[in-house]
Symmetry: D2
Subunit: 431 residues, 4 copies
């Protein structure tokens, strides 16, 4: 193993362990004909774990990783070594990256692409030698100052073109590495002030760009899903992919709702004023559920805290929606989570993921049992049962016909209990 995680052995399932172990996540445990590993499809991200230096808006680097500042190819490879060591320790089946994460930027667009390809070769070998598969790739089009006013929505068409080249190169690499999805997070696709923004034009540019991405996917035969990751704001004051419902409207506007799905994050849901399960239920209902980022936001903080999940009842409600959506196909459970900047040690990186994976396992098992027992679905069906027998009374009818029906019968509908607390109690038997 690498020197970075030198003392840390691969983590195994051992409910009685004293030290680092999975107490709930047993990859091989079967739930309904599918192993827990296949249900959860865990992925670990490169950026927060191996690139982020611990800075926040009021402070600089806290982490001291031997590959920092990773501005040479040698350091980038050293970083990759550590990353794949960690993937092995955790036994995760997937990983994720931005172009920017795995290669230092070159002096030119071309050099950046070359470096990306060289690093792809480097990690491909690791992947083939027992490493994890690629859940998704993506391009970082928000950190460099050239993207400060947007990527595809930039007022400068050269930035639009630059982004086309960047995404193409990232899709190519994602495809080559067998990635199962390609993600777009529009960190700067939004505005700081409406005063200098042509909202209509920017949304048109974004639609046009997405159409090109979809076309290119088909052209190269990439079978994975194209995923948009909603977030309401931060870094921008307003981000166009505000939440799931907003993304759906955007896709419908450009006729892309059959081509693109969403990657939903708990933290972003919270920032948008929603619960995580709401966003997942909405994605399922609108037919665009794809994948999840399983990192939470602190409920009292108004910025993106990207913390590891630590609340099993919340995880249960999330996986309940995942299971109702039919489970993951190309998607999975990515930890777009970062350590607190005071968590300096290698073991913090490992323990944070182990804890998060166990929370997900607890949530999944509870969710699976609730579904298997029909614990929530039976009362739900009962609540709407009137429609099963009465839908014909309204189906295909006009407003006047239904109004006439109501008036002629002198309808005076009586409310019945919604039983929220009883249903909450039921959930609490499972978590």
């Amino acid at each position: 193993m690498t020197s970075y995680f030198q003392d840390i052995a691969p983590v195994t399932y051992d409910p009685q362990a004293k030290g680092l172990a999975f107490r709930h996540y047993d990859p091989q445990e079967m739930l309904g004909g599918k192993s827990m590993q296949d249900h959860l499809r865990f992925a670990v991200c490169y950026w927060h774990n191996f690139v982020w230096e611990g800075n926040d808006p009021f402070g600089g680097q806290t982490f001291d990783r031997p590959w920092f500042p990773a501005d040479t190819m040698d350091l980038a490879k050293r970083k990759a070594d550590a990353a794949f060591d960690m993937f092995k320790i955790l036994g995760v089946p997937f990983w994720c990256f931005h172009d920017h994460d795995i290669r230092p930027e070159g002096a030119s667009l071309k050099e950046s692409h070359d470096r990306l390809n060289e690093m792809a070769d480097y990690v491909q070998e690791k992947m083939e030698n027992g490493g994890p598969k690629l859940l998704w790739g993506t391009a970082n089009m928000f950190s460099n100052r050239r993207f400060m006013s947007g990527a595809s929505t930039n007022p400068d068409p050269d930035v639009f073109a630059y982004c086309a080249s960047t995404v193409k190169s990232c899709m190519d690499v994602t495809h080559r590495l067998g990635g199962e999805n390609y993600v777009l997070w529009g960190g700067r696709e939004g505005y700081e002030t409406l005063l200098n923004t042509d909202l209509d034009r920017e949304l048109q540019q974004m639609g046009r760009f997405l159409q090109m991405v979809v076309d290119y996917k088909h052209k190269i035969g990439f079978k994975g899903a194209i995923l948009i990751e909603p977030k309401p704001q931060e870094p921008t004051k307003h981000q166009y992919d505000y939440d799931v419902a907003t993304v759906y409207g955007f896709l419908k506007r450009f006729g892309l709702e059959e081509e693109v799905q969403v990657n939903v994050e708990q933290g972003h849901a919270i920032l948008a004023g929603h619960s995580f399960e709401h966003e997942l239920a909405m994605a399922r209902t609108l037919g665009i559920f794809g994948s999840i980022d399983m990192n939470r936001n602190d409920y009292q903080s108004g910025w993106d805290t990207d913390q590891f999940p630590n609340n099993a009842p919340e995880a249960a409600l999330a996986y309940y929606e995942v299971l109702k959506a039919g489970g993951f196909t190309t998607g999975g459970t990515n930890f777009d989570a970062k350590l607190r900047r005071q968590s300096l040690d290698p073991v913090d990186l490992i323990a944070a993921h182990v804890g998060g994976m166990d929370i997900c396992a607890r949530g999944l098992k509870a969710a699976y049992a609730m579904l298997a027992d029909d614990a929530l679905e039976a009362p739900r069906r009962e609540r709407y049962a009137g429609w099963e027998t009465s839908d014909h009374l309204v189906e295909g009818k006009t407003l006047e016909q239904i109004a006439d029906y109501a008036e002629s019968r002198g309808l005076d509908p009586q409310p019945v209990s919604g039983r929220q607390e009883i249903l909450e109690n039921i959930v609490n038997r499972y978590v």
Copy 2:
């Protein structure tokens, strides 16, 4: 005049007045070929002004109006007398109502409709005798306990039918009274908990209902607009018409985006995490701008405070978007605003509207001047000017073609200043 406002004379434009007067709103002042009255199209609502008793979640009635509790037709008429007296004092061209506002509920659906029609006759006479026109009508399908679990989205199909009858009767009356729009605010179209909610079914019910409403509008020859009023939550935990972008997606899903527009409220925008001008700009961009509710939310309160507008710079940004959208057609500026519950006196009702109307007038004049001077549009055009000359480089091209263009030229786009503070300074010269 009625005894209720006995001391209060009609309010006139008088910038130098000591007492109650419009200091900024001169209905006849022309801005670009259109009078201020026609630009603003002020409307006063019935509910907060004449129905609400001053209660809040922790306290009961504070207002002492002679027509309370308005549970007989006589009291309802006394209430209407006061309302139309106030409309006259303010000189507003429009008013708005729910069915529930103008008639006491009857013992049966039929009696409720009969009473609504009787009251419609009563107010129609007032309207014809110099009273204001009707900006919009709407149905209250959230106060009565029968709607506690939703209106069109209710688990009980009888409630759906009841709502059909209710909306039909309200549309009929709105049409008869010459209403220029019909509004749907889905106060209970949402959920308290996902645990007992069939999200998919409820959204389908809501779409079906809206389609029927649109069909009925055409059938009866109602020429006004059908408007949905977005709000993210309250009274429900989640309201389906969350914000403008969400409503757009809903309309697209059911193919109604050409048929239905939005009535945007500042307070609801704030609760959804948006600025008012954002929601207006979004409605314009998506082609569904209809009308506005010009009442603000307290920025530090997490519930709907429905306060009268009192910040002229904010009003300027709102009317700027209204003007960019081409101004109102059937829509207008409605005050869905309520007095603070401690504002007990008749003069409070009048003064609150006078103050609000003056804020709108100041905002409109500033907005008009900014547009006339090209103060913001010139820098905006300049910011995107590159697209005017370079759009051909990307138009109709594929991702590879544009990528190739970027790579072959070695594009290295340089950022330029977004000039936000300078633009804010420009706005401040006008407000």
Copy 3:
């Protein structure tokens, strides 16, 4: 038993039950020499359960209780019968009330007091016949319109005097019924707008009033605690008892920090931007911890939702702070929680409390075990261990002396991991 809960038997501890039962709360289970009942000291409130009619800002009564509108003494007694039946079914050791909850308001102050005393006789008999004890009493000085501009902080000194009489009568009754605390929640002690508020004067009035309450407590020999319940806002825009730290400053200003403690509510903590455990830890640290209201706020709603607790990990962190504070003395666990307004049935009332009590029991047991195992305290001590050996280096020193120490030694302190994720994992082994 009463007809209202006719089918519902007293709830017992039975982890394997199919139906209504405590699955975690065994009143007699001992944790460290104290029964769970004595640790938790559960109380049920009168107001939300028996007085509230289900109304919200957009809708009226949904509940249909046989004692409504409880505006006669007979109905008030019928309400009391139902309340004490419920207390018996739940087996709770305590209950709580406002004056307003148990008696209809009289035509005069005196009649109101007489009615309060008559009802006190009525419930006293029930309490003595196996009923629960009184955790606390309080006065409702926010619902009636006379309090619309404040109670002790009212601009009208007659309201101040009225409140003195009201609180005196409530303290007398609380004392007579053996209440263990007296609570003040200042629902209208705050402002709607600073424009009409004399902040300085109002705070002085509030301090003066509290001093009189404390004096009166001593005079009548009431041994219970005087508790203030912090809340940041709602119904007012700003409430003076904003949060624990604010109340502490207020008490210090008036020299009352030894006389008054706080009753902390999870929902109010959330509305103030804090976690519940924060407010509890702050109360402990400042020496003013008294009691808790164990009802949560929805994290995505900006108003007081007063929901039953349903998240065991959160309850564990709360009881951890309670135990660190030495547990309750006169205080207890009150459910200031209300059913959702769609939960119409008698069984909803019972089930909601049963579920909440079980959540508290799970939380308490986890908290107790964490403390017993020194699971969090050991690492905490270790983190600050440097101070144990080095405090002398700074104790009693001046800034220059310590500066000189730092400079002469060339101190260059190196950060160590804060281990947040590891500590979160530890907590998750217990919940």
Copy 4:
């Protein structure tokens, strides 16, 4: 002038100017015997303007200043040259700094101090040659990783000692430069998680540290005020100096309320759930008003946006409280504001301040006129007039005596209108 602002002439008052000019701020205009310059006491900060590189949590440097990275003394001097050039262009009477802003950190504590002193010499000469005076100095004890777990509240006593040395050196320099205040902002004085925090100990450390600072102030004869700057959170989850009321309680606890005042920022007020005027009114009421940071937060963003003020009505309400507090003594109006990261040009820096200063001037003039006209104070006095004539009825009385008074007279207080809307209208005549 320096090459950095080469084209920009000193900004003058010229209401009719086409270009860069003060349209409202005339430094010499007298308001009640005091010039506007002396009322407002503008200060410009060093950190956001000359140190910040434009980075945010999702992106790196955008600004391209010739003195970056300012890691040598030469570059630090070049930075100082630009800063003092900007101060001259703006004509501001004050500036502010952290140690960290004006000197590169040395290899040791001692070298850092030496560099600070050398830079102090450098800027002192500029100050003496027509430059602005120093409003306040402060120490940056949050950016370097050594402070990641707190400054005076750090678990490591060596950090406490390091901070003592840092603050001493900063106070010495502030004193030498004639600074009128010394500010402490506890950016890391708080916690990320309660799980690893000893709240009691940390607050004790903070109190002890502040006592030493106060003692040292007296020892060296520094006549300026010691100011604490409240902020609720960010970068930490919870910051101990949450808001004005919290700071007051902290000062009272350690007996420092006569020694320390607050520096109130609009943006921090918003993040704490308060209006700016609330925090100012509270500081005045509690006797700890000191100075202000006149930068706003975006109402829809949950992090510290530090934007230049741009809303004149809001500024009016703020300065109204400043004037009611007697105006500034040692304090002033500091712009702790930063450009948007897309505002790249030198002119953006100047224009942002010019716009902000004009907003303040408009606010001050409106506030002054409202006070001079007794426009708000007259109705306020009237509202509480009852206390002027009736205070004797309650003064010095006990609860029983006042209760007896209320009961014997059969008090039945009638509410009177709070007139909020009318008062808001009055304000709008002035802004």
